[in-house]
Symmetry: D3
Subunit: 267 residues, 6 copies
């Protein structure tokens, strides 16, 4: 049972009765948080839900760092992302761009009906990034609440660069960053070292993205089988649970600071 864990954190929308939800929503400076992940191939060594597991953990971790005074609720993570570029490998459950867009719009709009002062999408999948920006705009035009969105691994990128062992290209899809976080958070779901096959992200164009932390000014569509035989990209061999713990601490602190700022700005 996946949903056995509902109620594990205090900020879960799912575990509340509706009067409890409305009480939080009506508090001053209340913030609704919508995590968005993906189910897509992550090479031979990581489970397909990696993006959803990580964004859920990061949002939960940030939420736990918040003071009780900050009224906020977190919806369950939207676990279906926009991942057509991963379909050739299998293991991927992908929504069409516009279908996922309407899901996020509907979740935010019916959530906001409860009286929240702001909604923040927190995304965990690179392929969703432009969609999140799109939805920030389309939801933004339909509400008086403040609407925000971020892709969590773009936060605190300077600090992350400082602790990385890989070159640019190593923190990518199933690489040093994600594998470290998974080794810290869910080691039992990470395959043994000998299965951590990946290639560095080697985008042909110098202007293209080539690292989770270096997106570049030129977007290029590539099915991931152009980049990698295994489906993974980056340097998982440099991953460690210890590094994962440090990344987790940095990112959850930064995201908590974002939530505090939203609360402060909307009270």
């Amino acid at each position: 049972m996946i949903y056995e864990s509902i109620g594990a954190t205090d900020s879960e929308w799912a575990s509340k009765s509706y009067p409890e939800i409305q009480e939080t929503a009506n508090a001053d400076g209340s913030v609704l948080v919508v995590p968005v992940g993906s189910i897509e191939q992550h090479g031979h060594h990581l489970p397909v839900a990696t993006d959803t597991i990580l964004v859920d953990a990061v949002v939960s971790g940030a939420s736990e760092k918040l003071d009780d005074e900050i009224p906020h609720l977190v919806t369950p993570p939207v676990w279906s992302g926009f991942s057509p570029h991963h379909l050739p490998f299998g293991g991927t459950l992908s929504l069409d761009f516009n279908h996922l867009q309407t899901v996020l719009e509907d979740v935010a709009q019916t959530g906001l009906e409860n009286g929240f002062d702001a909604v923040c999408f927190v995304n965990g999948h690179g392929g969703n990034a432009s969609l999140i920006d799109a939805v920030v705009s389309t939801v933004g035009t339909s509400t008086d609440a403040e609407v925000l969105g971020t892709t969590y691994f773009t936060l605190a990128s300077d600090e992350i660069h400082n602790l990385r062992d890989s070159d640019i290209g190593g923190m990518a899809h199933g690489g040093e960053y994600e594998t470290s976080l998974m080794l810290h958070l869910r080691p039992e779901l990470v395959a043994d070292t000998d299965q951590r096959e990946a290639t560095a992200w080697d985008e042909h164009y110098e202007w293209g993205g080539s690292d989770l932390l270096d997106s570049g000014p030129l977007a290029v569509y590539r099915s991931f089988d152009e980049y990698s035989a295994s489906g993974a990209i980056g340097a998982p061999e440099l991953a460690s649970a210890e590094k994962g713990a440090r990344i987790y601490d940095i990112v959850t602190s930064e995201l908590a600071a974002v939530f505090v700022a939203i609360h402060e700005h909307n009270r």
Copy 2:
């Protein structure tokens, strides 16, 4: 973290790597299971995720009763349902009918690309029932795989009637059936007895639905505030954990039998 529990059961799509998923999908008579729930008000005594928690538990329970020989995988539950009739109470995250339809179509279609011989939607929310039937048709026309769908509480209705203490109208939205299951499965999420306010489902028309187990030939649209002041309908005061255990056993056994039959028919 909600997703801490991923990997708890052997049939979870989310916890696998893509090669593992494809191995199951390519086995003879493989079955893809898509649970569909809802996040909507359930009165003062149940969490809004009740439908999702229950459908997840029922599918997991059925899956655990299956022999290893039956290749199948279960996607994470789609937790967003079609619940416009609950919006007036708050606590509800509802998708438009057609938006949820495309989500289920996309999940099934990209899932089936892996090679499954059948897909079965298992629904846990009455308001989704016609949508599930719709999607069985629209996905069915697009694939050679067998496409099926059921709303779990319509299974084994004779046996359930035998164990109920309430009259017709008592197994409804947050009533004897759902509250018993929640007391068995997640008692810590059920409010104390004194908060279990509900009214019996008293549909004006004799042809209309008036119980989870008695849907009737006449569909009537009613915002739930026409039925109930608290949002709950039925007889939660007759619920017990023991009854929940018996319902759970009956329904999971029946659903397991459905899965076996699908496997047998498609091998």
Copy 3:
């Protein structure tokens, strides 16, 4: 000319001028009725419009049984249904699910603009049943009028069971029920006995539907060529005009009672 018959019954929207329509719509407890049929293959012995002919006749018959005091109007039957499962046989004019959905929504919404207190869809095609339920919800959320829907052959099912000669599986697509009604109402459109080829509805799954009057808790998508070589399913050889007359009387009386109840509830 099909439309030569407009005006044959007093309740036809089509034969009225707009001031007459508005007079009825504005009366207390006024009911708008929208029959929905289908044009699809019905084996070798029945015309493709069977579902539309029958739902039109049943609604007209019910309407004629009503007291003058019950203000109501009947739109022309929507003759195009959702029938992808019949397309392989030919003779079928089918709309996509969502296209038919918008037709019913638009007809109901522009009809309700005249001031009716309720709208009731009456459906005559099994393949439309979930769509009717869907539209009851989507129209219901958009209006203050009461919105209802039924599939006529699910009404009075106990009485129908009592008069049937076929086993379960015999009242199906072009079987005992529909062929009897057609022999009563439109015998000149029914082919001779030797063309009434059909097979009993033999759904593999015990939980699946296997009779017009026994739909079962498991939906399965099947192109009808999986069930039948001729396109017809059921026991047309057991049909008779006399039985058709009895079915017609039972169903029209029951439907008339539904209309009366709607009127009473909304005045």
Copy 4:
């Protein structure tokens, strides 16, 4: 019962079994005809189904003039048109432009699957005219069959002008042309002379349309309450059953000639 009249003409799709339909469809030079009408206010003296009644009669009349050698079938008339400009008067059941578009596309495309060599939409409502042209294009790009469309009252306009008694502006919505046809075909549905209130079509712009037979190069959107207090436009006082008979003969002959030409061109 409206559908009592099905089978009255030999070319009706609705009255056939599917093997009969396929036999016609597979004949050389076969033509599928789709009549399209409307249900909309037509002043105080004509029923709201006037456009549907007339297009149905005109198509049936043309069909009856055809030689047996011309294989063709006529679907039931699509009775729901695009009529937002009539909604303020009531009595109108209107589909959104794009919803009606998909209906016509689906009907034509599923009809053509049977093997017809051509499909011809015959329209009876001015407000549908651009939509028919649109659908001729969109269906045309999706099939190898020939796709055509016409609005029947634009046929044989020279001959019609010769017999009219009204000036330009008199053959309009519920005017001399339509009222004459109705007096010929369905006099019992036409109100007495003293209810035939209408105003001549007096479009402000000289380039705008101002008669059924004079559409002009400038399209102007006008809700019909800008033109007329009663809803009718034209000169119904000049209508006569005799003139209706002559119009009917001219138009059905011309339309029959169109059908023959399509047959000849596609055999």
Copy 5:
């Protein structure tokens, strides 16, 4: 740079700052003009942007003939049309019917937000004609402003007929009319005489369109490779710059008169 010419005429929306636009929009009887062209093959002798170049020139010319007192602004021409029938030749950038429809709706609706009293679409591509009519209706239902539309070459058709040298069929796609205008306005973009290959528009059906100025009552879908080997239809060999100058003068005068009439009617 294409947009180097912005600002060449006084009525260009594009060259204004927003306060200037609002000043014009708020003047009495203000008119918004939206030219709509196409990019599609025009035979070997004309550029693919011919329809856009011509509609832009015609609207600019009409605008220049207007008195300063007539407040109006012209949006940039929508250069993408509905041209599936030209795709087989290449050189064509075509939008789907409904996609172009939404573009015109959005441009008109956001433009009208500034306070214009009327909007007039001026179209330069035959394939867009029904779409323009459609949009006049759909925008018309959404605004209190007056909504109009015309295809410029249908204006002043009597005068144009008087000056033509070709028979019917010669003023068509890349024929005498368009080639003359291009020789007058943009001779450097017209290929030499020996490349002006075309065939007369020879539509099989007498009721079909066979000239820019003779559209006929029967719409037929034809990919243009059914009409012409080169892609051009008509009599370009009869074109001349002098004739183009006369056509230009006639059409711009007529269109200016339309704009004046709109202004007068809406002040």
Copy 6:
């Protein structure tokens, strides 16, 4: 006439005949370029078409720097963008997100039908940036050609930072960057110095975007009247034609290098 300038550069799709277009498209390593701009308020000192003028100029300039050997064509700029956040000021013609998305998809897909090996969208409006990324994905999944996209002012940002005189916040909407380019390219469209009112881009959140060249990891929806009274943001008072010339040279060189790289990679 805007379209008087067609043919001014050698790479314009619009000025070619279709055989010329196909010749280029079929050359080895051919590149289709689609500029995308916007028409939206740009304060009191810049015309509403600024984004379209600039992206057109930048693409034309880059194209002119290319060797003849690089086969490429440039479509006319799509001048309608996604600009809901500018609507409150007026002067803005904005498409809905999904409507603009389909325009770009249709233009790219019908353009690619000619045989190009790659398509590159070049965007000039910040509000379009996520939409461009979206379309790169959706078009990318539908074609074998390479699909790319960039927002031109994100290119060469290091060099641009070196020449700026404003602090972060000064190169924004109608600020130092855009005003300088306009003073270089179209000085006659720039209002006098005393009308160059703007405020520095002062986004509340430190993670939010606050400069054309500094977008930040947090997306926030803001109607532009939250940022500025005049509609302009940045430091137009620091703009100069000379700086504009330098920016233009840097950006066109960089974009030309992108085009060369695409050509090289796809030959």
